[in-house]
């Protein structure tokens, strides 16, 4: 597809890693991704296998299930956000969950997930989140207690707290910012 002077290759140039302990869920997800045009798809059946893959190659997008035995998807995300090199740690991560109650959504957000995908997956839902991951990545925040995309999706014009967003400072260092004194 021609787009101005660029040739839009579609998702075929991007690689994706799907992590889910359920083989059929991996097959289903990869079938949808191949339909979207992804040609380089990788899979892992647990967090540990995913971690090993991530040591060797960096996918462009990671899709991971929340509920997995031994190590949950949220823990895997927190681990890779903190421990992978910066060039790899900021990849878009879609977290799938079959039970999207509020505690899980908050846990996913605080682990550093870019987007949350409620199961059952829908073709449109998955496509929308992939497009968001490519076109609208949020600024990356790196601190001792949190590493991941900016958890605030809105800009509050009346906000008068510490200016910690990437656009506010050239070098983000949240740990150097002291909490405000209680009034």
């Amino acid at each position: 597809m021609r787009l101005g002077f660029l040739t839009l290759n579609g998702f075929s140039t991007l690689s994706v890693l799907v992590v889910d302990d359920c083989r059929h869920m991996r097959e289903l997800t990869i079938a949808l991704l191949r339909g979207f045009g992804f040609q380089r798809t990788h899979e892992a059946d647990c967090a540990e296998a995913a971690w090993e893959i991530l040591q060797g190659r960096q996918p462009d997008i990671l899709i991971v299930d929340f509920d997995m035995p031994r190590e949950s998807g949220a823990k895997l995300i927190a681990r890779l956000r903190h421990r992978l090199p910066p060039s790899a740690a900021d990849m878009p991560i879609l977290l799938m969950t079959a039970f999207s109650d509020m505690p899980r959504v908050l846990a996913a957000r605080d682990a550093g997930a870019s987007e949350i995908l409620a199961k059952p997956l829908t073709i449109k839902g998955l496509l929308d989140r992939l497009i968001a991951a490519v076109d609208r990545p949020r600024p990356f925040v790196r601190a001792t207690t949190y590493a991941g995309p900016d958890r605030r999706r809105r800009t509050d014009p009346a906000y008068d707290g510490p200016r910690r967003r990437e656009g506010d400072r050239n070098e983000l260092d949240l740990d150097s910012i002291k909490p405000r004194q209680a009034i």
Binding site: C22, E27, F36, A98, I123, I131
Partner: protein, 156 residues
């Protein structure tokens, strides 16, 4: 003008410029190709769930694990009612675990039986609609006090 993101550079342009209709049709073809295997997997889990519901004492962790898998797979391959009942079963067990209240075996068994029946009926069948309604009422009436809904209420 906003700079292109790294992934947009790799793709040669923004993802929103792709032809959505074509992508959705191709993905549907991919989904159709794997649907028979997913249906077979769902039937396997149905048999395992039946056996788990008959075990004494009831192993709720096994029941939860199977409900979780059915919930994830069923809706995507057009089995919305099966997915909805698996969701009710999983949510009931999660709420019990979160609140510390032991699940009532009879509630679990009834939900497993309803789920088993849903496999035999098509979505929209009046019997299935009644089953869904009854199962929903049952889980709400037996839900522990500290359910996920209750946690979302503002603190006073």
């Amino acid at each position: 003008m906003k700079n292109a993101t790294q992934l947009q550079d790799k793709m040669g342009g923004p993802a929103c410029a792709l032809d959505r209709t074509t992508l959705i049709l191709e993905a549907q073809r991919g989904l159709d190709a794997v649907t028979p295997a997913i249906e077979a997997a769902l039937q396997d889990r149905r048999i395992t769930l039946r056996a788990a519901a008959k075990s004494a004492p009831l192993d709720t962790s096994i029941v939860f694990g199977i409900a979780h898998q059915i919930r994830g797979l069923a809706g995507t391959v057009g089995r919305q009612s099966v997915g909805a009942l698996a969701d009710m079963l999983g949510t009931y067990l999660t709420d019990c675990a979160d609140s510390g209240a032991p699940p009532v075996d009879e509630v679990v068994v009834v939900l497993v039986l309803a789920l088993d029946q849903a496999f035999q009926l098509r979505d929209g069948d009046p019997v299935l609609n009644e089953t869904l309604s009854a199962a929903s009422q049952l889980t709400h009436s037996r839900a522990p006090i500290h359910s996920s809904d209750a946690r979302l209420q503002p603190q006073r």
